[in-house]
């Protein structure tokens, strides 16, 4: 191994790659322009849809209620609701999303309010459909108020105080500072995006520098030079790392920048959209704040993962005879990478000594913590250490592949 040779190979690969339009697109254009564009585009569209759904009156059908004209009139008068004629098959109307829900009022409902037997109002809705869900909570709110009014009236009739049925109140108060809330909401997404950018950034150059060289016939030329194969591998490896880290840093920087700019432009809109996306209901309207130190931590933790990706991608694509063949080997790997990254975003999967040994998943989990300002040093050490070991094994395997003539000359 000779550092000046490795540097020579590296600098040549760098120059070569920077002249390749495809590498430039995957390394620079996609992370800086496309990613934030997509994020903002999706975010803006989502918040618009949610806003529109909120502003729109809830269309509903009233089933029954002929002997409860007061309730029906109140529902019809409420601007939040738009009562639609019942054409008989209200279930179909809900299923076809013609209306958001159907309200079934039992016979004799209004009369029973004056002290009759307990009654049951049924809301027919479409589970997991956003508009239907919004409608249900609005109608539930309407009937809750009605119930409270009824209870108050009955108590007043008997001359009893209101506190009789409400012995105590439960009140919630948030102690998590806004950046922690942001860390949990955004913190799950950021490592996931970083892992993917890191992988896709390494993918193209790794294929180009191995299978691409074989296909173009320059691999044999390079092997004629009096440079040990280890130096060639390491030079190429450093180039793939450079591409991977550049892609990642650029995507983090552009995302960070766009969150700041977006925050200034949209005010709390982004946070609201994010909160709605996280299905948390009423989150405070603040821009999700990330611990900037945590962001550095994330970048530091991803470095051994980048080594792992670069080494695996080089080894796999070196085996391929052509660019196309390499692509068909590498593309399924994206799924292998995404699965653990997505699992890290799920609630309930916690960082333990066991999950800390699963590559990518451990990164996803620890990054979520670091971004919300929690530094679990023993875990961080374990994750960093284990990833370094995986990366070292992968790099060793990659060097071995370069020394196998049946792989290098596979054609």
């Amino acid at each position: 191994m000779n550092w000046s040779q490795i540097l020579t190979v590296y600098l040549k690969e760098l120059k070569d790659s920077l002249r390749d339009r495809r590498t430039l697109i995957s390394m620079i254009v996609i992370p800086t322009l496309v990613m934030p564009g997509l994020m903002f585009g999706a975010g803006a569209v989502m918040s618009k849809i949610v806003k529109k759904a909120r502003a729109e009156a809830t269309s509903l059908v009233i089933v029954g209620g002929e002997d409860s004209p007061g309730i029906v009139a109140a529902l019809k008068a409420d601007p939040r609701f738009r009562v639609v004629e019942n054409d008989g098959d209200f279930r179909r109307l809900v299923s076809d999303k013609k209306i958001r829900l159907a309200v079934a009022i039992p016979p004799g409902f209004e009369a029973a309010l004056q002290g009759g037997a307990p009654q049951e109002v049924t809301l027919y809705h479409y589970e997991s459909e956003m508009k239907s869900g919004l409608g249900v909570s609005a109608v539930e709110g309407f009937f809750r108020q009605l119930r409270e009014r009824t209870v108050a009236a009955r108590l007043a009739e008997r001359g009893l105080p209101a506190s009789l049925v409400q012995p105590f109140e439960v009140r919630r108060e948030n102690v998590a500072p806004p950046e922690k809330v942001g860390g949990n909401i955004i913190g799950g997404v950021i490592p996931y995006l970083i892992v993917i950018m890191c992988f896709t950034g390494a993918m193209y150059p790794a294929i180009d520098l191995t299978a691409g060289e074989k296909e173009r016939g320059t691999m044999e030329t390079l092997l004629c030079s009096p440079v040990p194969r280890v130096s060639i591998v390491l030079g190429k490896f450093l180039m793939v790392m450079t591409a991977s880290v550049t892609t990642m840093v650029l995507s983090v920087a552009s995302m960070g920048l766009s969150v700041v700019i977006g925050g200034m432009l949209l005010g709390g809109g982004m946070a609201k959209a994010a909160a709605a996306g996280a299905a948390k209901g009423s989150a405070p309207a603040v821009i999700p704040m990330l611990d900037p130190l945590g962001l550095f931590g994330v970048v530091a933790m991803i470095l051994p993962v980048a080594v792992l990706f670069a080494a695996v991608l080089l080894a796999v694509s070196l085996y391929a005879k052509s660019y196309k063949e390499a692509q068909s080997y590498v593309s399924p790997l994206i799924i292998v990478i995404i699965m653990p990254a997505v699992m890290g975003m799920l609630p309930g999967i916690e960082l333990t000594a066991k999950t800390a040994l699963i590559p990518i998943l451990n990164l996803s989990l620890v990054c979520k913590e670091m971004l919300s300002g929690v530094w679990n040093w023993p875990m961080i050490g374990l994750i960093f250490g284990s990833t370094v070991v995986y990366a070292g094994v992968a790099l060793g395997y990659c060097v071995r592949m370069f020394n196998r003539e049946d792989v290098i000359f596979r054609s």
């Binding site: 020579t8 190979v9 173009r216 030329t221 004629c224 003539e405 049946d406 000359f409």
Partner: protein, 258 residues
Amino acid sequence: MIEARHLTKHFHDKKRGLIPAVEDVSFTCRPGQIYGLLGANGAGKTTTLRMLATLLQPTGGTAVVGGHDVIGDPVGVRAHVGFLAASTALYGRLTAREMIAYFGALHGMADGAIAARIRQLADELDLHEFLDRRCDKFSTGMKQKTSIARTLVHDPAVMIFDEPTLGLDVMTARAIVRFVRQCRERGRTVIYSTHVMSEVEKLCDIVGIIHAGRLVAEGTLPELQARYGERDMEEIFVKAVGGEAALAAAMDAKEARP
């Protein structure tokens, strides 16, 4: 100087098991000589030359090339060898100058020495016109000239040519043949593989005929003519490999090869 001693190379193949590509090949090639390796496609020429250039490791035997052993000191061998094959392409996104300079740097040459060498090679091979253009826009002739400059950048004592005229037009092929002769005049050791009989007649001082991985005949052209009682190289070749039937059988076996 090239001394091949019992060079043997076997490949493993999942379907057909062990394939003997080269079997016990020994020969000597001296400085100022062109050794021609003549054989049909798949006879083992490329494998032999790749072993001499240390791209492949011999399964058995060894070779001393430019004073270095191909097994013991492959890097030392490569430092004294220029290898040119139809399969050694150029980096399309580099210019001819960058391409030559890159290989100079890989040979451990200093920047100043590389620049001087490129000037000299550009004069000799007439590269000036396209020296700073990218290789992917080159004609075959320009590519071949640049490849030659690439193999010569470190002024190697041994030149290995693996079918260098394959797929080239007449003009370029002639230029290559001229250049190979120049190498001999400058006292380099040259080994040249081909399946074109006329090139062997024109160029080679010693001819080795390789068939099914074995060196079946060796000698100067007059020696071979005397031994087989034929004047024509093609007739000598067919007799040396054991007649047309043997050649056809070997070609059939080769068809199944990867």
